[in-house]
Structure formats: structure tokens, C-alpha cells
Symmetry: C2
Subunit: 217 residues, 2 copies
DNA sequence: CCAGCGTATCAACACAGTGTCGAGAAAGCC
DNA sequence: GGCTTTCTCGACACTGTGTTGATACGCTGG
């Protein structure tokens, strides 16, 4: 499954020493961040805002987190972990019921990221300026692509899918499509797919790209 | 074709009064911006840097442009216009030679945006924080999607493509895929498609999504 | 040939935000 | 009750943005 990326190897993105009661403050900061992100974009939120929201002064904020970015990264980390857990079931089902299994697999991400839009959008915004955010997200994408490649190869091996593009290339483009389409929809971009159409559209394209034969001249 | 979006209705994004010799300075600023963007990301460049690069002081910069963002927007505007011009030919060819025509159409964007990566990447970065950049890019996407929808519908009407997803939904997801895949490749993201594979992969998925029949159970 | 007006320039300022330092309060614990 | 560790914040230093007001520059018409 997805693997590494997470808090595992870098345990304390948050406060300097993970102990005692300041715990509560840390949670207050994270909660404030998520709340404020629901109202405005990341760049509109200052460290001052986060501190005030958590009932502390700005310097005290820095006792708990090294920067605003670190707060968001923590939030994203957790969300990503949540998403990784959910996704396994759909993939398992894929061999018997391709379309339904695929839909289930895609739905897992859709739901986790969709239910915490504020964090999802902040993650995307952060990626533009923060290398750690880029690395974190790269890892997520890599996990998805690896899974999708494996599925495509398995389906080809058992004769359910015809040969075609290298599995990894195909998986890469499809995962990228998913990411972008989700983002556009969640961000309310115009144009974008309607929220209740998103999965249908993506699943259909995946099915054709994986199971469809090479097209006519 | 693509339509509006461009400098047409908002003629002077640049200096306050479009006259005389300060013209040279304006060009110097734009050139400096493009040069510096080749070295580092937008957020690493300050107005000071742009001014210095153009041989003027920071306040003087503000005589020519209202902000750093406006400079980049001007650069992007021009690139977008360039891209719009190129694309027509491929679409025309599409009816006789679907695969070749499609490839040609996609290639047009690939080449324009690929040949000015610095600006392309800056545009993407800007979108994260700047509403005008988002609007500009939305317009570009909208144009592409409209064109792609029209093509899909035409191909279905003449019986070359089977029915399937609503043309606009399909077009939206495919264009989003293209955008994201191009960006990842140009930005050197990991994972991403290799530059010399990008078009082949995208064209193949487009072909299957448009011309392939609905997939098996 | 110089008065006068737009064009162009910049030093100095006001502001908003980040991150740090060092002095101190409060909370454990021996 | 002293010592240590955790926690807190006022005050500071710094970076970057955008504005203001004074001034110089160059042309054009009287």
C-alpha cells in the first residue's frame, strides 16, 4: 500500500518536546488553523491570527510550531494518513468487479479530501511555495500511481485488459487527472465537474483507458 | 476558437500611460522577470530584484507596474495569446485524421508552454494567491474545453465516435489531465511523465476515451 | 529661450508580517 | 523551599510591500 511519507520518520512536526499539558494548546492551534482555513485562503491567515485564535501571543505560537506552514503540514499529514487507510478495500474488489471496485477505490480519496476541503485546498496552496509540502504530496501521488500501475498490470496479466501504454505511464496520467479534477471541483473552479458527477466521469475514463482496445484509425 | 481572455478588454495591465520612451524600461522589467523566473520561483523574487535588474529603484518600478503580480500576469497574457494562435491547425485536421490531428492540437500547447517554462510555472504559482491569475487561467481552460467538447460532439454526430459521457464532462476531465500532466513534467515533479513520452500518453488516453466503446463488465 | 506641463525618478516613510531573544511566571519534583 | 523544566510574552531586528512628496528631465508653444 501507499507507504512511508507520513509522520513515521519525522515524528514531531509540531511542538519541540511532545509532553505534558501544552498539548491542549497545540490542539487549539490546529483547530484554529482548520477553522480559519474554512473562511479564507492560507495566504490570508497570519501567525498572529492563529495565535489569537488559540488564545496565546505570537511568540508563544512559535513555542509550539516553527511556522505557519508546519501547522498546515501537520493537518495535511493526518488527512493523508486517513486517506491511505480507506483505500485498500476498493482495490481488493477490483479483480471481480472492475468498475465497482475502481469506483470504490476512487471514492475513498474523494470522501476524505472532500470532507476536509479547507485542508485540501491549503495543501495545494502550500505546495506552490513550500518544498516539504511538495515532497509530502509527491509521496502521496507516488503511492497512488504505484497502486494503479500494479492493478493495470494485474488486469493485463489475467487477460482482462488488453495491452497498451506502459502501465506506469498510463497510471501517472490518470492519477494526475484525478488530482486535478478533484481540486477543481473542491475549489469551486469554473470550469469544473459538478461534485455529484465527478466520480462517474473519472471512473468511465479510467475504464476506457484501461480496458478499451486501442482505438481506430 | 478560444476567445476573449486576453489583453483585449483590459488593455493596459502595464504602465499607467502607454506612451513615450519609458517603454524601454517596461520591457526591461518584463525581461528581468522572465530571466529571474528562470533561476528561481516567483515567491523568491522581490520587487527590489526586478527593479535592480531593470536598472531602476523600487519606487520607480511602481511607476510602470502596480505590483510584481501584474508583471507576471502580463507575461502570462502574452504567452496565452501565443498559444491560442497555434492551436487551430490541429483541430481542423481532426476530422480526416483523428489521432494525428489530436496530437497536433495538443502539441501546440505543449510547445508554447514548454518553451517558456519559467513563465508557465510562475503562472501556476501565482494562481494560488492571485484572483486575477485564476480568472485568466479559467478562461484559458474554458476555451480548451469548449473546443474539445465541440470536437467530441462532431465526431459523435458523424458516427466516428460512439456515445458516452456528456461531451463537456469528458472534455473537462481530459483537459484537466493535460494541464496537470504538462505542469508536472515541466516542473520536473517526481512522479511525472518523461517529456518525450507526454504527448504519446495523453493522445492515447484521449483516443480511448473518445473513440473507445464503453468497457466490458 | 524660457515658462510650463506631462514624464520619469527616487529618498524617506508607514505598514504588515516573520522570526528571535531574554526575562520572567508556573508547575513539577526531590 | 530550592532547582529544573515548561511555558509565556514584551521588545526587537529584519524583510518586503506600497505610498508620498520633492525634484529633475525633456519637450512644445508662445
Amino acid at each position: 500500500m501507499n507507504a512511508s511519507v507520513s509522520t513515521a520518520e519525522a515524528p514531531a512536526r509540531g511542538r519541540r518536546t511532545p509532553r505534558a499539558s501544552g498539548d491542549e494548546r497545540e490542539r487549539a492551534i490546529l483547530a484554529t488553523a482548520e477553522r480559519l482555513l474554512g473562511q479564507g485562503s492560507l495566504s490570508e491567515i497570519s501567525v498572529e491570527d492563529l495565535a489569537k485564535g488559540a488564545g496565546i501571543s505570537r511568540p508563544t505560537f512559535y513555542f509550539y510550531f516553527p511556522s505557519k506552514d508546519a501547522v498546515v503540514l501537520t493537518l495535511v499529514d493526518r488527512m493523508v494518513e486517513e486517506a491511505a487507510v480507506n483505500r485498500a478495500s476498493g482495490i481488493a474488489k477490483l479483480a471481480e468487479e472492475p468498475r465497482a471496485g475502481l469506483r470504490l477505490a476512487l471514492q475513498a480519496s474523494f470522501e476524505v479530501f472532500g470532507s476536509r476541503r479547507a485542508v485540501t485546498l491549503a495543501a495545494a496552496e502550500l505546495r506552490a511555495t513550500n518544498a516539504e509540502a511538495r515532497a509530502l504530496w509527491s509521496g502521496v501521488m507516488e503511492g497512488w500511481i504505484a497502486d494503479a500501475s500494479a492493478v493495470i498490470e494485474a488486469e493485463r496479466a489475467r487477460g482482462a485488459a488488453p495491452p497498451g501504454l506502459p502501465a506506469r505511464d498510463l497510471a501517472t496520467a490518470l492519477i494526475q487527472m484525478n488530482e486535478r479534477a478533484h481540486y477543481a471541483t473542491f475549489a469551486g473552479e469554473q470550469p469544473a465537474l459538478a461534485e455529484d458527477r465527478l466520480l462517474d466521469v473519472l471512473v468511465d475514463i479510467w475504464m476506457r483507458a484501461i480496458y478499451g482496445a486501442d482505438a481506430p484509425a
